[in-house]
Structure formats: structure tokens, C-alpha cells
Amino acid sequence: MAITVKRVGRPVPESSYLKATLQGMGRTLKYMFEPKITIEYPEQRWELSPRWRGTHRMLTKEDGKARCVACGLCPSICPSNCIKLVPGEDENGNRYPLVFEIDEFRCIFCGYCQEVCPEDAIHVGQHYENAEYSREGHVYDLERLMAQTHPVSTLWDATDPKGE
């Protein structure tokens, strides 16, 4: 079948500038008295979606240690290569992270690390205020990741696509 092209009603110069301008002025006047949509940021906050992917957070076990078992899945899936993980092993043969750093400056907040984590340890969270004075400040180490308190993201669920 041949490709059909949508026929557009082409505008032609037959309009009155004055009438169009008066219409436009009526519209701006109407907007002037409508409620304002500004969220005054420092005082008012925007309500984040439960699926918001922001600053990372490392969840902990009951004994206060990180849940991470240093399996190495998150650094290998990370598309922006922002997770640095050096695994260690204690005398019982349990693996734990010696170094676990996330560079929030490089992170693209795709949420793959949370999705891939078998231990439910690393999460992206509902938080976005990451301003720092230096680039180094954006590198979050394990303590800092564990110290975050914001709610974690509930990622998109394939079985419940609309989040109901």
C-alpha cells in the first residue's frame, strides 16, 4: 500500500492582526486572574513520585552493618561506571565491601543498581538536593550512603505498570 501523507490545512494570510491581538490580550488578562502554579521552593516542596530515582541509600541489617555482600553486580551493570567496589572477606567467609563509593555526579539515576541487587542493599531514593562545593563532595562513601534517611524508590514493576 502506498504511503499516505497527512493533509494539513495550510494557514493563509487572511486573518486580521487587530482581532488576533485583541483575542490574545483577552487570554493574557484571563491568565492574570487565574491561580498561580508556582511552588515556592525553599518553603514549599514538590511531592515526589514514589518511583522517583534520586540520591542513593544503602540499607542496613539488624546489627547496623550494610546489607551489601560485595557480589559486584551493581558496578558491572552501572552504565555510567560510577560505583567503585572493593570486596573483602571476614574470617567466617562472609563477603563485605571494603570500599563502596558512588559518584553521584556521574550517576545517571537509572536505578539498575537497585534492580540488580540480590540482597536489597543499594537503593535509589526519593531525594534530589545534592549540591556540593566540590566534585569530590559528590562521591558518597559507604558510611554516607548508610546515613541517608530518605524513603527509597519503588521502581517500576512490570507486573503493575501503572503503580496501582
Binding site: P13, S15, Y17, A20
Partner: protein, 426 residues
């Protein structure tokens, strides 16, 4: 022995006679007008930001001076005084420094001949509330207002910057073009008033009908031309920020820039007051005659002052309103509007009004209600003609809208449209 003129008790309804009294009152009026004018220009910067915000669904400045942001102009002023002043290399220094003042002063001088309230009776005599009621008031305004272009042109030229230069060039072309229409649109006003003194023009309007009804077409032309003279959107090509950085004031910083900024708002205030005076009866309170008849009282003065401020404020609002509604014209649109529409229409309107006045005089209709009604009817006809016949894609070309089906058919030389086919992407 005659008393000192300031100690003399005279009839409050009689005009001031003494020379000393005249000078003292003139100085007092000067100071008051200057102060109010400057404060108004400063507050206008806030008004513009607030109104623009409201029209865009925002709140506008609300950090300095409470929720209304009332101290924002003061904060801006302090900031501009504190800022470093930069001088472009190879700039023509004297002209570069002079240009901001040149664009600001003419706008302010014009105010001296605009009457802002009915005469105030005092124990030294009746004080006319206008700084100087010049007998040539109206011509004076036209002469001084046309000086405003020098500030812009010199700023553009002295900056040694191509963007500034283009802005100055545009502004000279624009102002020269629209000055003609501005001047010619006011000739019917003079024809009707038979006088060029501002107070006489107001008196004539308060005795018959406001000129906005008697001379509607002249009012519209004057309004558009004063938009252009004040460099306001849609005529802000001299500073067209999307193409010329900031146009003629690109190289200006700190308080020099601020002066240009104030000059823009000063021009708006002046143009609004001028329009209110010429076409809306100045300080005349509508539908009543008592406010412009003797004896004058303080109450009358206050009421007429309020009336004048309301009218001026209304025009100021319209100026801001238009700025946040209409996009800027293209250069050719600007020129063709000025030369091909405004000037011929203004010329034709002068002929029309002059002929009408002559005919009315010949058949013996004196200025009065009947006279005004005839003029009003004539204006309604002229406006209808203008809107229906002339303004269809001709005033500003191209003013587009989606074509009517009939027109498409005519263009295609068919009688029916082929059945609409669905687009690929749909």
C-alpha cells in the same frame, strides 16, 4: 505701603499675580512632580515584573519587602549603585556618558506641560496644577519627545559595538517613521480644540465629549505610535534581545544601564499621561460638569487628581499588558506598518475630520451634543471600514490563521475536498 506679596490675602479663585508667588509655587510643583514621577518610574519596574508574572501564571518578586515585593525597586537601585561600571574599549567617552541622560531627560521635561488636576485655591490665589501651562504646550511636547531618539542613537553609536550600533540604527529609523504618524494623529485634536494649550484641550473635551469618542481613529494611531516611540513591545526592535543581545544598551552597566531602564518607564508614564490628556479628557471627571467649573475647592483638586492618575495608570497597564501578549515585529513589518498604514490613515483622517468640521460649521451645528454624536457616528463607520476592509492580512503581513474550507476549495479550483486521509504516524 504695599504688603509683601506672600503676606497679601487675595481671592483664592483669582489667578496668581505676584512674581515671587509664581516662582515659589512653580518650584514647589516642580519638586512634587519630579519626586512622584521618579517614584512612579521605579515602582513601574516592579509593576511590570508583577504583571508579567501574573500573566504567565507565576507570582513575581516576593522576597524583598513582604509578599508584594514592594522594596524590589529599592533593592535593584542599591545593587546598580554598587555594581562595577565597565567601559568598552575605543568608546567615545563623552557621548557614552551623555547618552543615558539624553534618553531620560526629554521624557521628564514633557511632564512640565501636562496638567494633572483642577486648579487649587490657596490664600495666595488660584494655583494651576501644571508646572508650566505653556501657550504652545502641545508643540513643545512634540518637539521635546522627538529628542528622545538621540539618547538611543548616541548610545548605540558611542558604544563601539556592532549590536549596539544596529540597535541605534533601528531605533532612529523607527522613531523617525512613527514620529510622523504621531504628530499627524494629533492634528485632529488641535482642529477640534482650536488651540494647542494643554489646558484648553482639556477644557474643550470636558465641554463636549472626550476625544477618544470624537476622534477614535486618531486615538488608535496615536496609541500605536507612542508604543513605538517608547520602544515597547511589539516595537522594541532597538533592543531586540533575541537578535541584538540588548541592542543599544549592550555595553552599559551599573547605574548608566539603570538610567536607560528608568528612561524606558519614564517614557511609558509620559506617553500614558499624554494620551490621557489628549484623548481621555485629562483630569476631567466623566459625566459631570461640576469638576471643571468655578469655584474650585481642595476636594475637587483631589478628585480630579485621582481621576487623572486612574486614566494614566490604565494606559500604563495597557502598555505592560501588550508587552506580555504580542511578539516583536519583524523589521519589514515595522516599516510597512509605519509608512504604508499609519501615515496614510492619519493623513486621510485629518482630511476627513477637517471636512466634517467644515460641513458642520456650514450647516450651522455648533460644538455640543449633536456635534459630538455626528463625529462619533463617523468614527464608528471609519473603524468598521478599517477592521473589515483594510485589516485582513494587510496591516501586519503575514497574520496567519487556518484557512476556511471555502477558501481552500477556491484556491484549488475544486468544488469539494477529497476525503481526508489518515497520516502515517497516526
Amino acid at each position: 505701603m504695599p504688603l509683601h506679596p506672600l503676606l497679601q490675602i487675595v481671592d483664592p479663585q483669582a489667578p496668581i499675580t505676584g512674581y515671587t508667588t509664581f516662582i515659589i509655587f512653580s518650584i514647589i510643583k516642580l519638586v512634587i512632580v519630579f519626586t512622584v514621577y521618579m517614584v512612579a518610574a521605579a515602582l513601574l519596574t516592579l509593576a511590570e515584573r508583577k504583571i508579567s508574572a501574573w500573566m504567565q501564571g507565576r507570582r513575581g518578586p516576593n522576597r524583598v519587602g513582604g509578599r508584594g515585593g514592594w522594596l524590589q525597586p529599592a533593592a535593584d537601585g542599591i545593587k546598580n549603585f554598587m555594581k562595577e561600571e565597565t567601559e568598552p574599549g575605543n568608546a567615545s567617552q563623552p557621548l557614552f556618558s551623555m547618552a543615558p541622560a539624553l534618553s531620560f531627560i526629554p521624557a521628564m521635561i514633557v511632564w512640565s506641560v501636562i496638567p494633572f488636576a483642577s486648579p487649587l485655591p490657596t490664600r495666595w490665589g488660584r494655583v494651576d496644577l501644571v508646572v508650566a501651562d505653556l501657550p504652545i504646550g502641545f508643540l513643545f511636547i512634540l518637539a521635546i519627545a522627538s529628542l528622545g531618539v538621540y539618547g538611543v542613537v548616541l548610545a548605540g553609536w558611542a558604544s563601539n559595538n556592532k549590536y549596539s550600533f544596529l540597535g541605534g540604527l533601528r531605533s532612529s529609523a523607527q522613531m523617525v517613521s512613527y514620529e510622523v504618524a504621531l504628530g499627524m494623529s494629533t492634528i485632529p485634536v488641535i482642529l477640534l480644540a482650536g488651540n494647542v494649550t494643554m489646558s484648553q484641550i482639556i477644557r474643550q473635551q470636558s465641554h463636549s465629549m472626550w476625544n477618544v469618542f470624537n476622534l477614535t481613529v486618531a486615538f488608535l494611531i496615536f496609541f500605536v505610535a507612542s508604543l513605538a516611540e517608547a520602544n515597547r513591545v511589539p516595537f522594541d526592535l532597538p533592543e531586540a534581545e533575541s537578535e541584538l543581545v540588548a541592542g543599544y544598551h549592550t555595553e552599559y552597566s551599573a547605574m548608566k544601564f539603570s538610567l536607560f531602564f528608568i528612561a524606558e518607564y519614564a517614557n511609558i508614564v509620559t506617553a500614558s499621561a499624554f494620551m490621557a490628556t489628549l484623548f481621555l479628557g485629562g483630569w476631567d471627571i466623566p459625566f459631570t460638569g461640576w469638576d471643571n467649573a468655578a469655584p474650585f475647592t481642595v476636594l475637587k483638586t483631589l478628585l480630579t487628581l485621582g481621576c487623572f492618575l486612574t486614566k494614566t495608570g490604565f494606559f500604563i497597564f495597557v502598555f505592560i499588558w501588550i508587552r506580555w501578549t504580542v511578539p516583536r515585529f519583524r523589521y519589514d513589518q515595522l516599516m510597512s506598518l509605519g509608512w504604508r498604514v499609519m501615515i496614510p490613515v492619519a493623513l486621510g483622517y485629518i482630511v476627513l475630520i477637517a471636512a466634517t468640521l467644515l460641513v458642520l460649521q456650514a450647516i450651522g451645528i455648533q460644538p455640543g451634543p449633536m456635534h459630538s454624536v455626528i463625529l462619533l457616528a463617523e468614527n464608528i463607520c471609519a473603524l468598521l471600514l478599517f477592521f473589515v476592509l483594510i485589516d485582513e492580512g494587510r496591516i501586519i503581513s503575514p497574520a496567519y490563521r487556518r484557512a476556511r474550507e471555502q477558501r481552500i476549495l477556491r484556491l484549488r479550483g475544486r468544488s469539494t475536498l477529497p476525503p481526508a486521509t489518515e497520516g502515517v504516524g497516526k
